[in-house]
Symmetry: C2
Subunit: 334 residues, 2 copies
C-alpha cells in the first residue's frame, strides 16, 4: 500500500482493522481521513474504502428531512433510542453543504442528542464540510460505508430540508422519511417542490396535547394528497403517521412501517436493484461533476461565460451558438 508520511496518521491497515472490529475511536479517525482535503489523506482514504467495501452494505439506510423547527433532532433522539432498545446499532450522519460557511453544523452540537450520543450502540457524526454539495455528499456516503463496516445496521442520514441536499440523501438511502408539522401552512414549512414525492413516509411530528386533533387532520390531508402521485417503482405506498418525539408516541410505528417496507422491497427485488442503481449512479455523478469541473474550473472559461450570458439576454447571440462557440474554444485549448 501507499506510504503515508503525515504525522498523527495510523497505517491504512490500522484504520481498516479498527473499523472492522467496531472501534468507535478509530471509526471517527477514519472518517476524519475521508473528510480531509489533503492529497496524502485522499490516497489513504481510497485504500481504507477499498478494503472495507466488501464489509459494507448490511444496513437499512434511512434519509430524514424536514425544515428547522420540525423537531428533527428530538425525533432522531427518540427514534435512535427505540432502535437501540430493539437491538440495533445506529449511526447518524448528516448532509449540510452550508456547514462550512455558517461555521456550525446542524449536528455539530452533539449535546442536542445528549442521551443518544451517550449510548454505546449509537454513533453520531456531524456533517462533513465542503464547498460543493457533491463533495459533501461523497464524504457522507463514504462515511456511511465505514459505519456499516463497523457493524452499524441502521444508518440515519439527516438533511437540513432546504436546497438540494434532499436529492443527494434520497440518492444514497433505501427509505426516505419526511417530518412535517400540523397546521404550519405549507409555504411556511418551506418544503421544496419534489421532496414530497420522494417521501416513503410522512410523519406529522409534535402530535401531542392540544395538537393531536390538528395533527390527525393534517395526516388525512397528506395521506389523500399522496394518493394523487403514481405508485413508485418500489411498489410501496407512502404512509402518513403522527408521532410525538417528546412523549415517545408513534415512534414504534415508524420503525414498524420501515420494517414492512424492507420486507416488501427485499421480496420483490427492489432493494438490491435500487442499491445497485445507486452505486452506478454514484460513479456517474462523480464523473459528471469532474467533467464540469474541468470546464468551469478554468478562469478563462468563466470570464467568457459572463460575457456570453449578457449577449444572450440582449439577444445578440443564440444560446445554442454561444454554447458551441465556447466549447470549441475549450477543445482548442488542449
Amino acid at each position: 500500500m501507499t506510504n503515508y508520511k503525515r504525522k498523527n496518521r495510523l497505517t491504512a491497515q490500522a484504520y481498516i482493522d479498527g473499523v472492522l472490529r467496531g472501534d468507535r475511536v478509530i471509526l471517527s479517525r477514519a472518517i476524519t481521513i475521508i473528510e480531509s482535503n489533503l492529497e496524502s489523506d485522499k490516497l489513504l482514504a481510497k485504500d481504507i474504502i477499498q478494503a472495507i467495501l466488501p464489509a459494507s452494505g448490511n444496513s437499512i439506510r434511512i434519509g430524514i428531512t424536514g425544515v428547522p423547527g420540525v423537531g428533527k433532532s428530538t425525533f432522531i433522539e427518540a427514534f435512535g433510542k427505540h432502535l437501540i432498545t430493539k437491538g440495533h446499532k445506529v449511526a447518524i450522519l448528516s448532509i449540510d453543504p452550508s456547514s462550512q460557511r455558517s461555521k456550525g453544523s446542524i449536528l455539530g452540537d452533539k449535546t442536542r442528542m445528549e442521551e443518544l450520543s451517550n449510548l454505546e450502540n449509537a454513533y453520531i457524526r456531524p456533517s462533513a464540510s465542503g464547498d460543493t454539495l457533491g463533495g459533501v455528499a461523497n464524504k457522507t456516503a463514504e462515511s456511511m460505508l465505514l459505519c456499516e463496516a463497523g457493524g452499524y445496521d441502521v444508518i440515519l442520514i439527516e438533511t437540513v430540508g432546504v436546497g438540494q441536499s434532499e436529492t443527494a440523501v434520497h440518492g444514497m438511502t433505501d427509505f426516505f422519511l419526511l417530518l412535517m408539522l400540523a397546521g404550519a401552512g405549507d409555504e411556511l414549512q418551506g418544503i421544496k417542490k419534489g421532496i414530497m414525492e420522494m417521501a416513503d413516509m410522512v410523519v406529522i411530528n409534535k402530535a401531542d396535547g392540544d395538537n393531536v386533533r390538528m395533527s390527525e387532520m393534517a395526516r388525512l390531508q397528506y395521506q389523500n394528497a399522496l394518493h394523487i402521485f403514481p405508485q413508485s417503482e418500489s411498489g410501496w405506498e407512502p404512509v402518513v403517521t403522527k408521532a410525538s418525539s417528546t412523549k415517545n408516541i408513534g415512534i414504534d410505528t415508524v420503525w414498524e412501517e420501515i420494517s414492512k417496507y424492507k420486507q416488501l422491497v427485499t421480496d420483490n427485488g427492489y432493494f438490491d436493484k435500487n442499491r445497485n442503481y445507486q452505486k452506478i449512479r454514484w460513479m456517474y455523478d462523480n464523473i459528471n461533476e469532474e467533467l464540469k469541473h474541468m470546464f468551469y474550473g478554468s478562469k478563462d472559461i468563466s470570464s467568457q461565460l459572463s460575457v456570453l450570458e449578457k449577449d444572450i439576454i440582449s439577444d445578440e447571440i443564440s444560446p445554442v451558438k454561444a454554447a458551441q462557440q465556447i466549447i470549441e474554444k475549450f477543445k482548442a485549448s488542449f
Copy 2:
C-alpha cells in the same frame, strides 16, 4: 455569409426575409433546415437563427402535456380555434424524442387536427426527430423562435406525457398545462412524479355528459392536492378547471386563466426574469451535453465503463475510485 452549396436550398437571406414576413412555406422550409443534421445546413441554420433572434420572443409559450388518451389533440384543436377567433396566430410544436424510432410522430398526422390545420393563422409542425432528448428539444426551441419571428404570438408545445420531455418543455415555456381525466386512477394516468408540481394549470378534460359529476370531484381533489405544494416563484397559484374539448366547454376559461397569469407575471417581473433564466439555462444545457458527449462519445471510454459498472456492483471498486480512474484516463488521452 457562408456559401451554402446544397441544392434545393435558398440563401440565408431568403429564409430570413420569408420567415419575417410570415410566409408559412418558407417558415416550414426554414424549420427543415433547423432540423437537418447535415453540416452545411447547420451553418445555414445558425445564420438564420442569429438574424431572426431580435424578432423572436413576442409570444406566450404554453407547454401542454397529458398521457395518450387524455384527448390532447382534440383539446389543442378546440383551444387553437378559440385563440384564432380571439385574433391570435397560433403555432403548435411538439417534443417527442421517440418519433424517429416509432416512425410516427404524435403530430405527424396532421389530419388529427384537420380543422385547425386549415386555418390561415394556425401553423402545425410535427416533432423533430433525433436520438437524444437534448437534440430534439434544441430543434423545437429554435423552431419556436422562428415561429415567433413569423408573428405567431401563441406557441403551444405538446409533449407525449411520458419520460423526460415534460421537463424540457417546462424549461422553454412560460406556462405549463396538464390535461387529466376524471376517475382514470392515477397510476393509470401514468403521470411521472414531478410533473404535477410543474403544472400552472390542470384541466380535467372530457368533462361532459355522464362524466361531469366525476370531473367536478376530480377537480376538487386535484385543487386540494395542489395546495400542499409550496407557492411557485411566479407567485401564481395553480388552478384546476374542467373542460370538454368536443363540446367546447371551458376552453375559454383556460385562455382567461393564462391571460391572468400573463398579467400577474408581467407585473411582478417574473415573466422576463424566467425568460432570461431559461435562455441562460439553454446555453448551459448545451454546454453540459457537449461535455458529456466528448467523454461518453468515446468508444474506449464506454467499454471501460461497462467493466467498471460490473466491478462496482460486485464491490470490487468503490464508485468514487472508479470515477477517478476513468477521468484520469480521459485526461491522459489528450
